[in-house]
């Protein structure tokens, strides 16, 4: 029996704007996962969620930085499954997420990096659950349930040894947001650098909204398939988006932007400052291009230039082989010892050709 509810995206050209992609492929109340964390963060897409005033989303995030504060402060997400939160200003600085948790505007489920990603891996593989490293059963991460309740961990007896095994449940978020270095129009996305959770988060989701630094011809993908992190059939929309991960970093393109991040941290200390930041960098720009134009206008093109990567090229993999085909350019086969006409003649003489009339 065919599985129900399978989403499969086979169109050869899915190129659209971030506005169209987010408008079309994520609905209020759905769940989504960031299919990058810390590195290559799909921040242009996250900002589009905020700009379109999406509401009541459930977010899975391995390791959050500023996007978590932005999504919570704007009410875009009200539930968060999280393993790690980078605290740029140190632990004593009160963040928008801290305030929202205290005021009950967001519910947070604590996981470890391994167990959160294992939920995605099981979901990606179509399995109901997967074993994880059981020693952590003594910790509060396992013992204290959040809003997912008992739908995270369970213990069973290993049927082969009788030992206890800790399991996590598989999850399939509705959407994965992902940013990569390059993709073709069909959505074959290629990422390199820190691979972290990208593969499993993208494959776990029902559909992927993919932003890419640049669109390339399919020939580029076909000469480097080992770099493809997500295959086209998972990808609902492809968005071409230079600087789509700023202020996070992306190998071959740009480094993280520390002063810009420090500016956000400073702004986020008050609700007023936070609002001004959101207005300036999300609500009052229409897309990532306007955001970057505004950046250049404010800080100067040379400031942006200091972030740009110097090349460090990977040695290409040689996919060559002898290109031996059965038929040569004259339709003769050395292997069969005959031409294509002689081949058809042989089929006829041996009586294996069936008359179509």
């Amino acid at each position: 029996m065919a599985k129900t509810g399978v989403e499969k995206y086979m169109a050869p050209d899915k190129l659209m704007t971030a506005k169209e992609a987010v408008g079309k492929f994520i609905k209020d109340g759905e769940s989504f996962v960031f299919a990058n964390c810390l590195y290559s963060m799909p921040l242009a897409l996250a900002h589009e969620l905020i700009r379109q005033k999406k509401k009541n989303l459930l977010c899975f995030q391995q390791g959050g930085i500023e996007e978590i504060d932005q999504l919570i402060e704007t009410g875009t997400i009200d539930r968060l499954v999280l393993a790690y939160n980078f605290r740029a200003g140190g632990k004593r600085l009160v963040t928008p997420m801290d305030r929202a948790m205290k005021e009950g505007r967001v519910k947070v489920e604590e996981m470890t990096n391994h167990t959160l990603l294992s939920m995605m891996k099981a979901g990606a593989m179509g399995y109901p659950f997967i074993p994880v490293m059981g020693g952590i059963r003594v910790t509060d991460v396992v013992k204290r349930n959040g809003f997912l309740g008992d739908q995270r961990f369970a213990e069973v007896e290993d049927p082969f040894t009788g030992n206890r095994v800790l399991l996590v449940k598989g999850y399939n978020p509705d959407v994965a947001l992902m940013h990569v270095q390059r993709a073709d129009r069909a959505g074959n996305g290629q990422l390199w650098g820190a691979m972290i959770n990208s593969k499993w988060a993208a494959l776990a989701a029902k559909r992927v909204i993919l932003s890419t630094e640049k669109i390339v011809e399919s020939d580029v993908i076909k000469s480097s398939p080992h770099l493809t992190i997500v295959p086209a059939h998972k990808v609902a929309a492809v968005v071409e988006c230079p600087f789509g991960a700023h202020p996070s970093e992306l190998a071959g393109h740009y480094d993280y932007d520390m002063p810009f991040r420090a500016l956000f941290v400073a702004s986020s200390q008050s609700q007023k400052g936070m609002k001004a930041w959101l207005d300036e960098w999300i609500y009052e720009v229409s897309d990532r291009k306007e955001y970057i134009d505004h950046y250049i206008e404010k800080f100067g093109g040379d400031t942006l230039e200091t972030l740009k990567a110097k090349p460090f090229e990977s040695t290409p993999a040689d996919y060559g082989f002898p290109f031996t085909r059965i038929w040569d350019e004259n339709d003769n086969s050395e292997q069969l010892g005959m031409s294509i006409e002689e081949f058809i003649d042989m089929l006829d003489k041996k009586g294996v050709l069936i008359d179509g009339d």
Binding site: L38, Y39, Y84, G89, M133, R137, I196
Partner: protein, 279 residues
């Protein structure tokens, strides 16, 4: 004048001595990364440094901001992912030593990196579990460093397992036999764990610190080794390596924040000057 060092440099140099050559080492950012780089530049040139982001065999040239920092991907030899690191590397028992900075710690080396105060109405929220529970749970040894953390009778939140309730309880809970925290390096001294009871004891003091100084921070009656070691001072060579690789670690967190603020100030001065020139 004798050697002049900062407390962070002393901790880095002491932590580096916990790494042996030819070991596989899991490190995050901060003091541990500086210790790993120092070890490799001195007595342990053949170690493999790994971060949980799937970066294996890295050759860092600066302290990464985080475990997936793009600077970690210069010179790495194996690009895998986080599932691969936890399962095929950590769970299979290949990790000799991992490092962890301490938020809260109890007498058995269990740690909290999640919440200070009642988790449902916390005073401070820290970074959370991340990879710490499985790394500390499954690496052969864990080297703990403590800069701003605290010793407590009971953790506000139990994030990462040390020796659980002491004795054999860690291994009964499912963690590998013989694994566990091996040493804790604080700003005042060095602590180890009793081989039988698994309770923490003071094994050494940094120059200038006293047993009373140490005990003042600890809510239980701390055992003290009969022959307390005195931490060896960093050498000029070590200090040179640390300062070139990680000046921000040498200076410590407070000065680091001040230099970031100063950098922002310079940037805004430039922006202001630019808009003036336009007008």
């Amino acid at each position: 004048m004798g050697i002049r060092y900062t407390i962070d440099e002393l901790i880095v140099a002491r932590a580096a001595k916990e790494i042996n050559d030819n070991e596989m080492v899991v490190i995050g950012q901060g003091i541990p990364m500086a210790a790993g780089v120092l070890a490799r530049a001195t007595h342990a040139p053949n170690i493999v440094i790994i971060t949980e982001a799937g970066i294996y065999g890295m050759e860092p040239f600066k302290v990464p901001l985080h475990i997936a920092d793009v600077s970690c991907t210069r010179g790495f030899t194996y690009s895998c992912d986080m599932v691969d690191i936890f399962t095929t590397v950590v769970n299979r028992g290949y990790v000799d030593v991992t490092f962890l900075g301490v938020g809260q710690i109890d007498r058995y080396g269990n740690m909290n990196s999640s919440y200070i105060g009642d988790p449902d109405n916390f005073d401070i929220r820290m970074m959370g579990a991340g990879g710490a529970p499985e790394f500390v749970g499954y690496a052969n040894r864990a080297v703990l460093t403590m800069r701003g953390g605290e010793f407590v009778e009971k953790l506000d939140y139990f994030t990462s397992p040390g020796y659980v309730e002491g004795g054999n309880s860690r291994y009964e809970a499912g963690m590998p036999e013989g694994s566990g925290p091996s040493v804790l390096i604080s700003t005042k001294g060095v602590f180890k764990f009793d081989p039988d009871t698994k309770e923490m004891y003071l094994s050494g003091l940094h120059p200038g610190a006293t047993v009373e100084d140490v005990k003042a921070d600890i809510p239980w009656d701390l055992s003290v080794a009969d022959n307390l070691e005195t931490t060896t001072l960093p050498t000029e060579e070590e200090l040179d390596i640390i300062r070139h690789f990680a000046p921000e670690i040498s200076m410590g967190r407070q000065l680091q924040l001040e230099t970031i603020a100063a950098r922002l100030g310079r940037l805004f001065a430039k922006v202001a000057a630019g808009s003036k020139a336009e007008k």
